[in-house]
Structures are given as C-alpha cells and as structure tokens.
Symmetry: D2
Subunit: 341 residues, 4 copies
C-alpha cells in the first residue's frame, strides 16, 4: 500500500514539480493538492502537462482537518509564517511535515525573524525541526517529524563548501557566492518583470547584498558570505561560482580527500579539479554536481556548483527527505540523469 | 527646425519603439510622451534603455489641450474607441493624426464595429481616414490628415498577396495565412501567460478562426481568409506562411512581373521564387520581405513573408506614414538592415 | 532478468534520448551503445548529463558480431541504407530490430528509393518489416521482428488525421500540414546553421515542397499533402497545424466519434473541439495530443497536433515498439507528463 | 566626400556588426569587405539581413595592395599575429589602422607573446600603437595611426575600475571579475559546442583562471585579477559582476566623485550607488553602463557593469576610435539606446 502524501500550496512551480515527482513515485500516492486560489479547479486546467495522468482531479481547499484524514505526510509550501502555522497543525495531528518555506530552516529563530521580517508562529516546533539537507543531516532527518527543506541557492552553496570548511581547508571569512538562477526561481508571478520580453536575452543581478538566502548559508556554514544572485534567461537551474581563500594546507589532494565524504552519494557529486559542471548536466535531475579550480596567483579556490532549482533545490530534495522519513531507499522516484536537451 | 511629434499611449512596447525611432529621426523631435498610468514617471524608469538619451524626461498625462500646443503630429496608441476619440480631438485642433489602434483601419465601419465589439466614436472622421499601408496607398496618405496605421499580421499578409490578387493570379477564396509572432505582439502585460517560464521553449496557436486581423486582411484584399496565428518564443518578428490556389495563368514569370510594382520599394521586398526570408533577416528593420514556392502537385503558391511586428508592423510604418504626411523622404529615420544577431 | 538492448548509432540526440529511456526502463538493460565516431570514448564525456548513472561506460564500435552476442533487441539509427544493412545483419542473427531511420518505413520500396535517393540494401526484409506507429499498427507490430520506427513529423500528422480519413470525414486531397520543430530535429550537427546565434530569436521555413516526410505521410494516409516544416528556436517538440477540407457529413460529433478509436490510448490523446495543445504540454513526454476547430466559413477543419520529436517522434516510440515486441505493458518506462517547465 | 573605410576579416560576427555600423554612418563609406573564405560571395548570401542595403556587393580577397588603393582607414580583424602583419602593411602604406585583434593592445610585448603564444610580427609598430579605450586614452588616440581596439570583457571591466583605482579607493590586489557573455562572443563557429541545443537553457563557466583577457585587464589597471567568464544563452552582451576590497577612505561619495571623470561621456555611464544595469539596457548600443553597491560586512564594493560585446566591446568602439582618428564628433553613427526588446 502506498504512503499517502498531500501538498498544501500546490499551485506554484514548486507544487507542479512535486506533483510530477509524486505521480511518478513508486511508493507515494498524491491524495490531495491544496491551493486556496485554485480550489475547485482541475489540475489539468492549471497545468495541462498533467492532463495525461491526472484525469479530472481538482485542487482542494487548504483545509487541514480534511487533508489530515488522508495524509501520512504533508508537503507545505505557503508563504513564510503561514507555512509553519498550517504545518504545525498537521504536526499536532501526528502527521509528518516537510516544509518548503524558510520557516523551519533556521536554528537561530532570531536570525529567521530578522531575515524574513515575521514572528515565527511555532517557535517550540522550530526546535524539533531538522534542516533537510539530506547528504549532511541524513541521520537527524531519519528521526525527525518536521523537516525544513533547504533553499535552492543554499543547497547549491552548502554542499560543495561544507566538507572543505569542516576540514579547515578554507577561510570562513568573506566567501563570495556569485550565482545565477533560472526564472522558475521567481515563482509563478503576475508581473511584467518576468514577462518573456523583459527576461529573454537579458541577464541581471538582483538582491545584491540583501538576498535572504545569505543568512541561511552563513548559519549552516558558520562563515560570512557575500552572495550575489543573478537572473538567467532559462527556465530552471542554478549555477554558483564560489570564491574562497585557501588555508595553507589546502592542496587539490586535500580537497579531494575532504570530498570523499560524498563518495557514496548519488545526488551530491564532486567532479574533481578542473571539471566544472554546466547547467544542462543537472537540470531535470536531483543531482548537485560541483568541481573546482585553484587560482594559485590569488590563493583562492573557485568552485562551480550546479543544481536544478526546482528539484534538488526544492521538490526533489523534499521527496528525498520523504524517502528518508519513511525508510525508503533515498534515490527512489528521483531522476539522476540531466536533461541536456 | 524639427517637426514636433507627440505620442499618446506611449507606455507599451509600441510606444517604446516609437520613442526610439523618433529620438533617432533627423526631422522629428519628440515633444510629449503621454501615458495615463505612468504620468510623472521618468521615461528611463520605465524603459532604462532610454537612460542614455532621455535625461530626466517624464511621461505626461494624456491631456489633449496641453499636448496639442506642442505637436504638429500625434501618434495615438490607446485601446479601441478611446484612440479614435482622442485622435479626433487632435484632428479637430488641426493636428495630423497617425492612429496605431484599429479605429481608422476599416472602410466598412460596420465590419469594424462587429470585429471589435465597440461603437466607433467618430464615424465621420473614419470616412476621411486613409489606410496607412504605405507601399499601396502612398498617394492617398500624402493628402490625408488621419491615418489608420495597419495591423502587424495584416501588413505582413497584404503586401505579398495584393499584387498577385490584383493581377488575377490567385483565387481570392479560402486563402490560408498561417503566421507566427514574437511575444511583443501581445504587448506589455501583467499576466502569467506571458511569463518567461510559460512561453520559453513553447509554441502554440491562439485565436484560431477568431483573430480580429482576419477581417482587416479580408477587407483590403477582397478575399476570404483562414487566419491562424501562433506565439513564438522570440521577442519580435512575424513570419507568415501563406497558401493560395493559383489561377491557370499563374507562372513564376507572371508572379515576378506582378511583384514588379515593388521594384523601387525599400521596405516591401520580393525575393523571388525559392528565396524564403527568415525572421532574423528583417527583425530590427522596417522591411517586409517575401518569397514563394509553387507546389505544382496541389497547384498552390506557398508564400513566406516576414516583418518586424514592432517596426514595419507598427511604429516603423507609423513613422513611414509621418514621413509621407510631411513630404520627407520616405525612408528617413527608418532602419533597413535586419538585426541578424 | 532484464531484456538486453543495444543501440547502433548512439551518438546523436536520438541516441542520447534512447540511452536515457533505457537506463530508466524497468525491463530493459542497455548492453551496448555503439558509435563509429565515439568508439572508446566514455558516454559521460560526450553526454555529461549521463555522468551520474553511467560510470565509465564507453561507446563501442558498431561491430555486429560483438553486439549480437549481448542483445535481444537492437535499435539501429544510422544514415539511410546503412541502417537497413546493419539492421539486416542483426535480423539474420535472429535479433529483433527497431530501425529509427527511414529504411523500413515504406511499403512501396520505389517510393522510398525515390524519396531518399538510395537503393534499398535489403528489399526482401522491407517486406517483412512493420510500420511502427503503435496506436494504429499495434497488432502487426506484436508479431513483427523488424519495425520501421516512424518519422517525427509523420507521427504528429498521421495520428490525428488517420481516424478522420478512415471515417470519410475529410477530403484526402490537398491536405496542408504546416509544422514547426525544435532544433534537436536537425540532429547533432557541426554547422554554423544551427549555432545559437543563427537560430535564437529566429524562425524560418525549410524544405518547402521537398521535405522527405511528405511521401511517408502520403503513403500511410492515402492522401495528397502539402507539407511545410519550420524551425523553431526551442530544443524539442513539434507542433503541426493541419488544414483539411471537411466532407459534408463531418460534424464535431462525427469527428469525436471517429477519435473514439483512441479512447483507451495513453499516448494518442484527442482533446476535443476547441482545445488546442501547446508544445510544453507534451515536450518531455511520449504523448501525441491534438485538438481541432472547425472553420465554417471555409468548411475546413484546423487540427493542432503536438509531440516531443525525440520521444514520441523517435526514441520513445521506439521503446513503445520494444514494449510491444516483448509483450510488456505498452506504457512501461515511458513518461506521460509533459515538461511544462 | 565620405572617408573610405575597409574591413579585412569581415566575415565574422564582428565584421557583420562593423558593416552595419559603417553602412549607417554619415561620414564613412565602406569600400571593401575582405574575407579569404568568402571572397567572391555576395555579402547578402552570407548575411541576408544586409540584402536590403548592399545590392550585389561581394566580399573581396584580403589583398593589401588592392584594398590600400581605396581606403583611408582599415579595420583589421584577423587571427592573432596575422592581423598585425597585414595591419602593418597598411600602416607602411600610410593608411590608418584600427586592429580588432589583440595584436596592438599590450604595452608589454612579452606579456602579449606569453598570453597569446605567438611572436609579434611587428614589435616596432606595437610601440607606436595606442590602446583604443576611448574614454581613457582619447588624447593619445587622436594623434595615433595604429589603434589596438580593446577586448570586450576588458572594456567592460576597465571602464568602471580605472577611476576608482586611480583615486586609490580600491585595493589593486585580488580583484574578482565574474562575467557572463552572449554567444556571439565565441564568434561564428562550425562547432557542436555552440549549437542551439547545446547552449540554450544552459549556462557554464569557461576559461577559469586561464582566459587571455586577464592579462590585458591587469596590464591596464596595474592590478591582479581573478577573471571568470561564463557563457549566457543570449546572443549579445556582457554583464560583469566585480568584487574589490575597499580602501579605508572609500565612501559612496568618494566613489561618485571619482566617477565624475565620466560626467560628459555618452558611452561610459556611471549609474551611481544601488542602480545596477541589466544586459537589455545596453545591448544594441555603444554604451558601457555600471553601478555599484557597498557590502559593508565584507568591506567590498560590488560593481555591475554591462556592455554590448559586439558594439562597445568590439565594432562600435572601433568606429568610435575611427571618429576620434578623423576628428569627427565621437558619437557619430553610434547607437545610444539599448535594444530592450
């Protein structure tokens, strides 16, 4: 019998991707896709690409009591604070929660509240929540009942940096993460700003020095970070080019040794010195791949790290967390080949 | 001394393109760019690409009295009926009007009203107005004081078909115009539908059997037309693939002879049998280029016609009409080389 | 135990897509990916998106004897005539063959030879071959040992037209197929013509009146067809807009009844009157979806049909044929949700 | 009478853009477009977008004697070393030379030879040559007869950094230039690597720590630079995100004061603190625009600088240099409005 999964806040691009992953998953079955704005509308009328599998299924209202009756796990993806509130309600009913907002990502609740400008509705639950970066916190996730699913830029940044900082190979001061994201990262917006004519053949920086993922990266890495996101004219994917000062003992051999912690990972893949991933290698997959070069002149490492923002950066990692929560093989239902084309 | 030009309804993509053309024009000077929604805002804050030429110029309100004081010609580009109303006011004040809406395009005002679902506010002016398809109605335009600037799809369709129908080389029954437009054709819209993520890597038909340009084409050609527009994932340009039944006497030689009427034209360019234009040849220019092949098996001609929807399909043709109205060389200020890159 | 599948001519985009599908298939295992030009090179060095699943697997030479030892079915995808030659060798060794070239698609071998300008190397095998358009020829395919996998434009055209022609609802004369394809359709080419700078923001017709898929469509439909392909600035997908004259008895009800033959199909999906598919609905899936509108003025039907050229138009249909050949559920290993994003 | 200009190496994208600019220039006339590979071919057959202005003009062979007879200035754009060789020949004949290769860009000829791996064919001429970054070296250019036209990435990097380094507001050590370029930057290549299917929806770093523009930037700025270029899925434009350590006295006021040196410039435009240009603001124009933010946490400045790589980054700056060489108004014939659409 399949595990019953529900989504609350299913109408955005993250929701669409989660629906796709759950439809294709051998062990989960989607029992409710909830959306306030689309309640009563057929899934296929919002996302016609689902037409060939979803029959006449409709979005349901985000009614926690109703949804709780038919879910073993709920994926919550509402705006900040609202997400923790309804997620807390599911938790109170004994249902496992994987939250895709920032609400359960921070250990330091003050840092969360300062970063997001809201009061956390359930601080006591935040203490129970586990940060769902699977490759690093897997053991804690397995025992958790609330998971704060990491941000997209943060996943792409933390995975390659964490082993090197742990091994003392990098200075934790003044790391630069210069990253570029596809436009799905901005969500499904009614705005001229993301109109094709405004974004195609364009490229721009945004949120320079102010983007909220900065504090999430800094908390998890115990480092200071200058983070500059850019908007790429592509649908999906993030590529981060990361600059950090090397410690004296940091050789390529030492770096590769530190990356040995990912030797058995399917979804965190160090490519080694000089092999730098491209977006198309990972877009469409749940893989975060990264490589590096050493700039001897400046004694810096330059890391290039790539993920699909909607999969490993959101819905795929959420499913990976669900696999862990329910003791399934961690790769189940998750794509490992990039789109390329 | 330069001729003073104003734009009413300057905030859309057509308005932006018109501003660019007028800034670069040797004989016109833009004295007012009016927009209700942007009045008081700097041009550069809406269209930063103008920053390097427009200083701190602001959009003004669409106040006909104020604008009339500083304009010899007004380009009106408001929604249907509103455009004719304010255009009529300028006309009453003795100012020449080039209207980019559909309001002054139709000879048969009933066909206009049926097609657009509005009552024409100034039917007596409609009788004075001239259809601004320069290469065909040049002589009338030169004597006009109100010009109905043609639609984009219509310009691209009429220019290659008109000479052949006039020469009796095509059946006027059941012509098919299968066309594809860049997304600027949809205008500057606050809508998810034109979000990059919804349009990039996509292609679709729309308005099938119902698009309003159908009746405009039919009226000017005295023909019946099945018109199927599509939305291309490009910013600008229209390419129309046109199918028509050949009359018995229609040889390539006869066709080329009929196209001889364009021998001296710079902006209506027959390329001959077997040379079919691509979008990049004309995008960025005021040229409509077209070529054809004969399908002997079905006794059909297949014409491929291409324009830039914002230039020859809107603002460029409007400037070409202004050049004619003021007795200037018709090519003045109009680009004749395609972007390619 | 899994069924052993080999690919000969694996280096192109069709080959890449086939490798992806076979890696993800529950019942087939890829035992050899052969390519003359890449023999000895790792798959991941040509297609890095495979890095996360294919280890250090290399392309092998197209040596029929070696490959025959480890294959129960071979997918052949070489240039015309070469494909039938090596496919014939595998057939002689008792191995099932699914050929993705045009070599086994035609019943009339003269039509094939005229269309492709080659002599068929194995005419006697051509008589045994079955045309692999699954939804129409399923019963024959199940008993076949050589399948000619249909072309991409042809699949997209035949599936919506066949039921209506069979039911006598359309005139078989002078059908127009005006289609647009993504650039993967041109294959993996060393050519300036398909450089990003030449194709992005562009759109063009090509092969007008001369494209080779015309005769394939005509043979299967017993109709005459004017076929005009265009090149879209997208990676994948074909959208065909089809015009045909309606028979007197052709109502929407009659059309929908004729489409009833697809009522149980997963991969040939009639959407009904007025619902016209977009590329993003089917790109990434094995679905061909189509809808229509009736143009009463001209007594024509306008059908819009969409597929993914690499999947239902090539590799996906090849796997669907393999599923049929080996008695597997026909949808096994084939994606049914479109990419959308 | 117009000044006669010739191009040697006219067949690439830089050549195309130069032809466009010269055709539209009020004071220059293009008398020869030379290309070894296209000699005898009509310009319009290689670049059909020129069809509407260039009649049946053909590419001529790169014969220096013939070209010298009809040129007052020659734009040379051949591969490294070859460009200086033929440029030298023109110089010997008393013709002004603007070289678009790297051959006359370096003061330190050893640095040039090390960077490009060639022996400079005319070292004595290199000493006469002036680096054609107009806004900084204008006075020297006016008296020069050989100009080394700057690289694209270098122009975009040097213009915003030079005033701040001159004013002592930045540390010259370890500046990071993280830049992204459109694909025209790679030139007109017969290569799968730049095929639409390989580049669309992709993004990648390349030449990390090894790109040749690094030494050009370093020489002109007397600074050390880590330079990381990326390839954007757009046709044209470069956006550079630059990180540098601030000197203690570096306030926004001091920075703006240093940028005062560009107060009268049309093509080097400081936008001030917090206004960061986007690609579409400058693509299609000869403008380099830049803005900045101060990251107080790390005491760094983050500069975002944007140009059109083919115009201000190549052909436009070459024409600007020609304007200077011949005492014309410097903005003549050069576009100052960005494409946006």
């Amino acid at each position: 019998m399949k595990i019953r999964a529900a989504i609350v806040g299913a109408n955005g691009y993250t929701g669409f991707e989660l629906i796709k992953l759950l439809y294709n998953h051998p062990h989960f079955t989607l029992t409710a896709a909830a959306s306030r704005s689309f309640a009563g509308t057929r899934l296929r009328d919002v996302y016609p690409a689902l037409s060939f599998v979803c029959g006449n299924d409709v979005f349901v209202p985000p009614d926690a009591d109703e949804i709780a009756k038919k879910a073993d796990v709920v994926f919550t993806a509402l705006p900040h604070a609202a997400s923790a509130a309804i997620g807390g309600t599911f938790h109170d009913k004994g249902i496992k929660v994987i939250d895709l907002s920032a609400d359960f990502r921070y250990t330091d609740i003050n840092l969360y509240e300062t970063t997001y400008g809201v009061t956390h509705p359930r601080p006591e639950l935040n203490r129970r929540a586990v940060y769902g970066l699977c490759e690093i916190f897997r053991a804690h996730i397995a025992k958790a009942d609330i998971v704060g699913n990491p941000g997209c830029y943060t996943t792409c940044s933390i995975l390659p940096l964490y082993p090197l900082l742990q091994a003392g190979l990098l200075s934790p001061h003044g790391i630069i993460v210069d990253a570029a994201s596809g436009i799905t990262g901005a969500g499904r917006k009614e705005s001229v700003d993301y109109n094709f004519c405004e974004t195609d053949e364009n490229y721009k920086a945004y949120g320079v020095t102010t983007h909220r993922h900065t504090t999430e990266i800094e908390e998890k890495l115990h480092a200071t970070v200058t983070f500059t996101p850019h908007l790429l004219p592509v649908k999906r994917g993030i590529l981060a080019t990361i600059y950090a000062d090397l410690a004296p003992q940091a050789t390529a051999a030492a770096i590769d040794k530190a990356y040995g912690m990912y030797a058995d990972e399917k979804f965190a893949v160090p490519l080694g010195e000089g092999v730098l991933p491209e977006l198309k290698w990972v877009a469409g997959s749940n893989v975060c791949a990264f490589g590096y070069k050493i700039d001897h002149k400046s004694n810096r490492i330059i890391i290039v790290s790539a993920i699909d923002n909607l999969i490993k950066g959101a819905s795929g990692q959420a499913v990976q967390n669900a696999n862990i929560l329910f003791g399934l093989p961690e790769t189940e239902g998750l794509p490992a080949i990039g789109n390329h084309l």
